[in-house]
């Protein structure tokens, strides 16, 4: 995260780290159920074998495992069948864990939005991750507040890429607060009335975040995929066992 700040441990209990040896943290991810995690499809490019991955929950400092940490292996990776790596559209995937997580204060699922519940432009939301900070990779989870930007306005920043309805843009023209390499798959969450937090986006792509080319970040629009997510969870829970 560029322009963010270090998070307090447990503040974002749905944030997880998708890890693979020998590199360790590769991408962010989001807990949506006891056995289910969302991330983006591009995290698995060239690494689609579930056996090479593990998912770490309840962690704040990647370098210092905490007592609240839970680790699970990956049983199944479900990539969106329309994922297109050339244009980074339909950039979403579901990860089935080998066993349920234990819900604690530090490990809790986020709510999914309703199918037609899109977040309005100018809403302020939060992004989190262990991605690049512009000058270094952090050990501690970072958080940043970003503003939702309309698709039309977002398109004007990215002449060479088409911004589709499967995407959501958030950030600032000057790129002051933005996601960066290593944040991919992590959450963009907004607080709803009643203090409940809902997952509206997954960090997907943007300009080279610490270069001269700035602009907002582009996130996978979770509301667009809710029906697909629910169906995949149903199929892989009840029908394909």
């Amino acid at each position: 995260i560029l322009g963010g700040r270090t998070s307090r441990p447990g503040r974002w209990p749905w944030q997880c780290s998708l890890q693979s040896e020998p590199s360790g943290h590769i991408c962010g991810c989001v807990l949506i159920g006891k056995k289910w995690v969302l991330t983006v499809a591009h995290c698995f490019e060239g690494r689609e074998n579930a056996a090479v991955w593990k998912v770490v929950f309840g962690i704040n400092n990647l370098d210092h495992p905490s007592d609240f940490m839970q680790t699970r292996l990956v049983q199944k990776i479900i990539l969106h069948p329309r994922y297109n790596r050339a244009v980074v559209d339909y950039d979403i995937s579901i990860v089935k864990l080998d066993t349920d997580i234990n819900v604690t204060s530090y490990v809790r699922p986020i709510c999914l939005p309703n199918k037609k519940h899109s977040v309005e432009p100018d809403t302020y939301c939060y992004i989190t991750g262990w991605g690049h900070m512009g000058n270094k990779m952090p050990f501690k989870l970072q958080e940043g507040e970003v503003r939702i930007i309309s698709l039309e306005q977002c398109q004007s920043y990215f002449d060479l890429k088409t911004i589709t309805s499967r995407m959501l843009c958030a950030g600032y023209e000057a790129g002051t607060v933005d996601s960066c390499m290593g944040d991919s798959g992590g959450p963009l969450v907004c607080e709803q009335p009643g203090g409940r937090w809902t997952l509206f986006g997954l960090t997907s792509w943007g300009s080279v975040c610490f270069s001269k080319v700035l602009g907002p970040g582009v996130y996978s629009n979770v509301a667009h995929f809710v029906e697909w997510i629910e169906r995949q969870i149903y199929i892989h829970t009840f029908l394909l066992n």
Binding site: R8, G10, R11, W12, P13, P22, S23, I32, G33, K34, R82, A86, S105, Y106, R108, P109, I110, C111, L112, Q155, F158, D159, L160, K161, T162, Q192, G195, R196, W197, T198, S207, V208, S211, K212, V213, E230, R231, I233, Y234, I235, T237, F238, L239, L240, N241
Partner: protein, 376 residues
């Protein structure tokens, strides 16, 4: 390197301990950079002349944004060709070495376009020192020059009738970008080789019609995609499956859509939520005979509601409903079923004449633990 240190690949020095940086070197690779897909050559060789090690690195580079933007100013007819010769250099299939652009092509590009960049406070890319490129030779073998018929615009550009290139994202956006407005002509979907959603004029690719994913708001792109017989139902992917196989607990549609939405809760006038099963294309009540609480949990889980639940049994003396009952299979405990609805059978008498109503609750989500209070 595999040992996770970073090094320039394919360099003259062997930076990785076990010479890993020399793998896959000396090979021509197909051009995948969309900007440069219409070049008179199809194979490239990396690193390129801007120091990028891969096409992916090239595609997200500053220069791959700069050149397409600069091309729109019409500063030099062959600017995009020059840009591509340094972004994705031509690979010589005989020698598997990259072929550079000619020095004069570089110099002309720089001479005509550098000043345009200066107007907006930007600099010509530092790594494009033209003296590194060879002079054009008489046999034209050592460096690249554009032919007359070379495409001036990249595939990411629209070519105005005047010859100017404007970005494809600006075509049909309601604003004229070509001097002759040609980027705002023929903006219908069909003229652009696309299909138009009738309700909102959205253009979608023909491959997106009848592919099982609705793209138009009214899902019209997924209608009339199959001709199922009267005794068949249409799967989401438009296969046809016999009605009696719908919600039978077995996957009959290839996309498993015959087993979706088989269990639901339907509200009655007094807001009781009756457990309803959609089987063989009809809705059924569930008889309370032999009911056990773990069945309520299974039904709620199948609805995606895994939280606490409450079961009620409601009397129903209306004999007209007799045909609409499903009863637990006599041997349901030994059936080893993964879904609730495959435990139920039609055509059995419901002796209790009571039907199941359920109240399922969603599992808790989206709550953060309260911050601990510390007296200061």
């Amino acid at each position: 390197c595999i040992n996770s240190t970073c090094s320039g690949s394919c360099g003259s020095s062997l930076n990785c301990e076990t010479h890993q940086n020399q793998t896959n070197c000396g090979q021509c690779e197909p051009i995948t950079l969309e900007l440069c897909m219409n070049l008179p050559y199809n194979y490239t060789h990396f690193p390129n002349y801007l120091g990028h090690r891969t096409q992916k690195e090239s595609s997200i580079s500053w220069e791959s944004s700069l050149f397409p933007a600069l091309v729109q100013t019409n500063c030099y007819k062959y600017l995009m060709f020059f840009a591509c010769t340094i972004l994705v250099p031509k690979c010589d299939p005989q020698t598997t070495q990259r072929i550079p652009p000619c020095r004069s092509l570089c110099e002309l590009s720089k001479e005509r376009c550098e000043s345009v960049l200066g107007i907006v406070g930007l600099q010509w890319p530092e790594d494009t020192d033209c003296s590194q490129f060879p002079e054009e030779k008489s046999d034209n073998q050592t460096c690249l020059m554009p032919d007359d018929d070379v495409e001036e615009c990249s595939p990411s550009h629209f070519k105005c009738r005047t010859g100017r290139c404007v970005l494809m994202s600006r075509r049909c956006d309601g604003h004229a970008d070509c001097e002759d407005d040609s980027d705002e002509e023929n903006c219908g979907c069909s003229q652009r080789g696309l299909w138009e959603c009738p309700s909102n004029k959205l253009c979608i690719k023909h491959t997106m019609i009848c592919d099982g994913f609705p793209d138009c708001p009214d899902q019209v792109d997924e209608k009339n995609c199959s001709s199922c017989k009267d005794d068949e139902l249409e799967c989401a992917n438009h296969d046809c499956v016999p009605r009696d196989q719908w919600c039978n607990g077995h996957l009959d549609c290839r996309d498993s859509s015959d087993e979706w939405n088989c269990v639901s809760l339907s509200k009655s006038v007094n807001s009781t939520t009756f457990l309803t099963i959609h089987k063989s294309a009809a809705d059924y009540h569930v008889c309370a005979d032999e009911w056990q609480e773990d069945l309520s949990q299974l039904a709620c889980n199948q609805l995606g509601l895994g939280g606490p639940y409450m079961t009620e049994t409601i009397e129903d003396h209306d004999q007209r409903n007799r045909q609409n009952w499903l009863r637990l299979h006599s041997d349901w405990k030994n059936k080893n079923a993964s879904t609730f609805h495959e435990l139920l059978v039609k055509g059995q008498l419901c002796q209790s004449r009571q039907r199941i109503a359920l109240l399922c609750t969603k599992e808790d989500c989206g709550r953060r633990p309260a911050a601990r209070m510390n007296k200061r």
